[in-house]
């Protein structure tokens, strides 16, 4: 009897705990119903204002919905560690590039041990890593250690920077986490402007101030490139006998400025990145396009073509503040920047030494503007103009404030769910879980009568426990999660079926009823434990190795299985004990 009371208290306490953990979800639901129920917007706003604290509290503690149910974007970004390694190396020669391209190939699709891959390549070639990395006196192991550290720092810095950008953009409840050696998972619920987000995340935000080379040397260089592509016309997709193939893609104006049509940009960019350019361009020089296009006489879009000094005079690290505004004169959006004291003095020196020359402001390789320095700038201020829209200026402000990424990132996986699809998923998820629950419950009652009713109570508690654990731990409910829940409903009765069948056997063997029930539980116990542990194990492995959405399935399956152990072994036993002690149950109660 004493034991009985303890079971009763335990079940009541756990049920209360589950209900308490789900209470905010219910509140959240009823608040949002109330708010959408008002006839006028003013009323709902007013209600929202009055109950702000409770509403926010409820929303925070309520059962979260996953991206697929709520709508939003899920991205996997990959930090280009190979690029980082290239950056870190010095003395780069052809051999180095060769090794790096092998590493790049081998590292595709690999999320671990990029550095060891590099080491293997160097060992295979019989070259000491210190030839290119850090100090010549370092051993390979020391260098690997240093590079590993640097790579992992780069990943966590990239994560922080991306978090900064996302926070400043303003997304509710973003999830940003690193995965493996070079991936970052970004989940953004309720995002509508996907293109803007994509740009915001992908841009390295590497800001550089570079001197431009004068026009004559640009034109000379173009002549040399033209001569080169004449000998190798396939580089530029031209026919063998085309004369001056480069000038099909580059228009040189009388004033000495060069323009490139938008459609040729990508192709030329590839050409300009080739190693042969080092011979064709003056020393320490590169060609760059303007970020913005202007309309040509033929109504096509054209980029400005610049030749810049490759080594930047100053980089974005000195920027302390950025602000998107409208320019005073032409109402053009622009971003004003302030520099650190160190940057300020450098900037003053650079501008002072280059009066009358152009300094290009280059962001992620594209020239935003290239103003002519009119006088020395002592205050450490600078302006980026040549920006298309205020929105773009605001995004620039965000990325400049957040800082530059240590290495380029690429989007390697992207999943977007529109909000109406999420609503569909919720509807079909609710429909299938309620039908599943209903059918199983009806079946249990038909097949096991009174015992079936107690199994049904256990089943409902089971569902309640799964949902409350999800809500309590802040795990999100996803569509696969709902599938896991529905499946749990079908499988959770298993433990009870095992017990009930065993009790029937005991009754058929002629045991007295009380004995039969107790034997049923004790004899079924080992089968229940062994079979449920294997299910739990499968769920656990799914959780460990499964990507994103699958984890949701694994979580509900695991919680459901664990909860079914409790509900089958403790809850139904408690109910039986209670009923038997009041003589409300006999052999016939098991159908």
């Amino acid at each position: 009897m004493k034991n009985n009371r303890f079971t009763g208290i335990l079940i009541t306490a756990l049920t209360a705990l589950a209900l308490w953990s789900l209470w905010p979800t219910w509140q959240d639901y009823s608040y949002s119903r109330k708010i959408t129920g008002f006839t006028t917007v003013e009323d709902s706003l007013k209600y929202h204002e009055e109950h702000r604290e409770q509403i926010e509290h409820a929303a925070e503690k309520s059962l979260k919905l996953g991206l697929d149910l709520k709508g939003g974007m899920y991205l996997v970004l990959e930090v280009d560690l190979v690029d980082l390694l290239r950056e870190r190396a010095w003395n780069k020669d052809a051999k180095f590039e060769e090794i790096m391209s092998v590493v790049e190939q081998k590292s595709a699709g690999v999320n671990t041990h990029i550095i060891s891959l590099l080491q293997e390549e160097f060992q295979a070639e019989g070259i000491r890593m210190s030839r290119y990395f850090y100090d010549v006196r370092d051993t390979d192991e020391e260098i690997v250690g240093k590079l590993e550290r640097e790579a992992s720092q780069a990943l966590s810095r990239a994560k922080e920077i991306i978090r900064n950008r996302v926070d400043q953009y303003g997304v509710a409840e973003p999830v940003i986490q690193t995965q493996g050696a070079r991936r970052i998972i970004v989940a953004l619920p309720g995002i509508s402007d996907q293109e803007r987000v994509r740009k915001l995340l992908r841009g390295t935000a590497k800001l550089e101030f570079k001197l431009t080379r004068d026009r004559e040397s640009l034109l000379d260089a173009l002549e040399r490139i033209n001569a080169y592509v004449q000998s190798a016309p396939s580089e530029i997709g031209a026919a063998e006998d085309t004369e001056n193939p480069l000038y099909n893609h580059v228009v040189v104006m009388d004033n000495g400025r060069a323009y490139v049509p938008d459609y040729s940009r990508e192709m030329l960019q590839k050409l300009f990145q080739q190693d042969v350019m080092e011979k064709l361009l003056p020393k320490d020089s590169e060609l760059a396009f303007s970020a913005r296009t202007i309309e040509g006489r033929d109504a096509g879009r054209y980029h400005d073509l610049y030749m810049l000094k490759k080594t930047p005079e100053l980089t974005g690290g000195v920027i302390t503040e950025a602000k998107a505004t409208f320019g005073a004169s032409a109402l053009q959006p622009e971003v004003t920047m302030k520099m650190s004291s160190e940057g300020t003095s450098k900037w003053a020196r650079i501008t002072g030494a280059n009066i009358g020359r152009q300094i290009a402001i280059v962001l992620d390789g594209a020239v935003y503007s290239a103003p002519v320095v009119e006088s020395k700038i002592p205050g450490g201020s600078s302006v980026i103009n040549g920006i298309g829209s205020l929105e773009e200026a605001q995004d620039l402000e965000i990325v400049l404030k957040a800082g530059a990424l240590p290495a380029p990132v690429r989007i390697i996986e992207e999943r977007t769910v529109g909000p109406s699809l999420g609503a569909d998923y919720i509807r079909s998820g609710l429909l299938s879980s309620s039908w599943g629950l209903f059918l199983v419950m009806v079946f249990m009652i038909l097949y096991y009568r009174k015992a079936g009713v107690s199994a049904d109570i256990a089943l409902v508690l089971n569902v309640l426990f799964v949902l409350s654990v999800l809500a309590g731990f802040g795990a999100a409910l996803t569509l696969p999660g709902i599938a896991g829940l529905v499946l749990t409903i079908g499988m959770a009765v298993d433990a009870n079926v095992l017990i009930f069948e065993r009790i029937r056997e005991e009754i058929a063997a002629g045991r007295n009823f009380r004995m039969a029930v107790d034997n049923g539980y004790s004899k079924a116990f080992s089968a229940i434990i062994d079979s449920q542990i294997t299910t739990l194990g499968a769920g656990f492995l799914l959780y460990i190795y499964g990507a994103g959405p699958i984890q949701g399935f694994a979580i509900t399956l695991m919680i459901g299985t664990a909860a079914s152990l409790f509900t089958a072994l403790v809850v139904t036993k408690g109910i039986f004990d209670l009923l038997i002690s009041r003589n409300l149950m006999n052999e016939k109660s098991f159908g």
Partner: protein, 308 residues
């Protein structure tokens, strides 16, 4: 109500028919896997998937021709209902371009039938191979863990037979996926991440079922002589038969509900589990336990089971 009561079916006697049947099913599946292969989704091969929903009914063929004209390769199929279309292509690059391409081409051609882009998924080839590897590790890990656990709780022969049964179940479902893949429009049976989850669930379910039979064998076999094994095995299977059938029944019930109501996104998943539950139930009765006995007869050692 009691459907199955006091059965005494000779499962062990029927084993040869069962082995033959399973072998045929597995070989047919393997043949199809070799010849036809699997219909991999973008999770494993990379590419882009777009789901469009129109305001009114639309023919997939019409959308296909419009997108072909716009220069977009890949497959265009109906998706779940008459208003939804699934576009799969190996497009890589700026998703915004793809969106504009699709939307403008379709708006041009079907001005009275507005559409919405419900979902866009894009997976790069590098991550796709990574996902494949993770899936493989998950399944291999699950099998190893099951082998170990059953070996500890029962005996190695039992563990090995249960892993054979799991292989049997997964192979049959995989084979069926290959045979039926792409045959039905409402159920394209592409192999994606959710199917891996389904396979692990099937493995879990199969072992769960098998262990319940084993547990009864463990209980009945205490003190039994090897000569009685056949009778004891059969009795154990028969005694647990009611439970086996009912649990499969309730699980099938909910999986059928999932298959019908939960929409096209997890239809392949529910189909896999549906078949898996059927095959898993069959294998724990007809394959796993008889295999243990066959093995035992061949080497003629008495069975000593651990645990209780």
């Amino acid at each position: 109500m009691q459907v199955i009561k006091n059965t005494s079916i000779n499962f062990y006697g029927a084993r040869k028919v069962a082995y033959a049947l399973s072998l045929v099913l597995i070989l047919a599946g393997i043949a199809s896997l070799v010849v036809k292969g699997l219909n991999f989704g973008i999770d494993f091969k990379g590419g882009t998937e777009v789901v469009l929903r129109f305001d009114h009914d639309i023919e997939a063929a019409d959308v296909r021709s419009v997108l072909r004209e716009a220069g977009l390769g890949g497959s265009v199929k109906g998706y779940g209902n008459d208003r939804s279309i699934l576009v799969q292509s190996d497009f890589e690059g700026d998703l915004n371009q793809l969106k504009t391409l699709i939307s403008s081409a379709i708006d041009d051609r079907f001005p009275d039938n507005a559409h919405e882009l419900m979902r866009i998924d894009s997976v790069g080839p590098s991550i796709a191979s990574d996902l494949k590897w993770a899936a493989f590790k998950a399944i291999a890990g699950a099998l190893a863990a099951i082998l170990l656990y059953v070996a500890i709780r029962f005996e190695f022969r039992f563990a090995a037979a249960s892993v054979v049964a799991i292989f049997h179940d997964v192979l049959i479902v995989l084979g069926l996926f290959s045979i039926l893949g792409g045959v039905f429009d409402i159920m394209p049976l592409t192999v994606d991440l959710s199917i891996i989850a389904a396979f692990l669930t099937i493995a879990g379910y199969s072992i769960n079922d098998t262990v319940v039979v084993y547990d009864r064998i463990r209980e009945n076999i205490k003190g039994g002589k090897p000569a009685d094994y056949e009778r004891l095995f059969n009795e154990s299977i028969n005694q647990t038969l009611a439970r086996t059938v009912i649990t499969s029944g309730t699980t099938l019930l909910v999986v059928i509900v999932l298959f019908i109501f939960a929409g096209p996104a997890i239809r392949g998943f529910s189909f896999a589990i549906m078949v898996g539950v059927l095959v898993g139930t069959y294998s724990s009765v007809f394959i796993a336990a008889p295999l243990v006995l066959d093995w035992n007869r061949k080497f003629g050692r008495a069975i000593h089971l651990r645990g209780s």
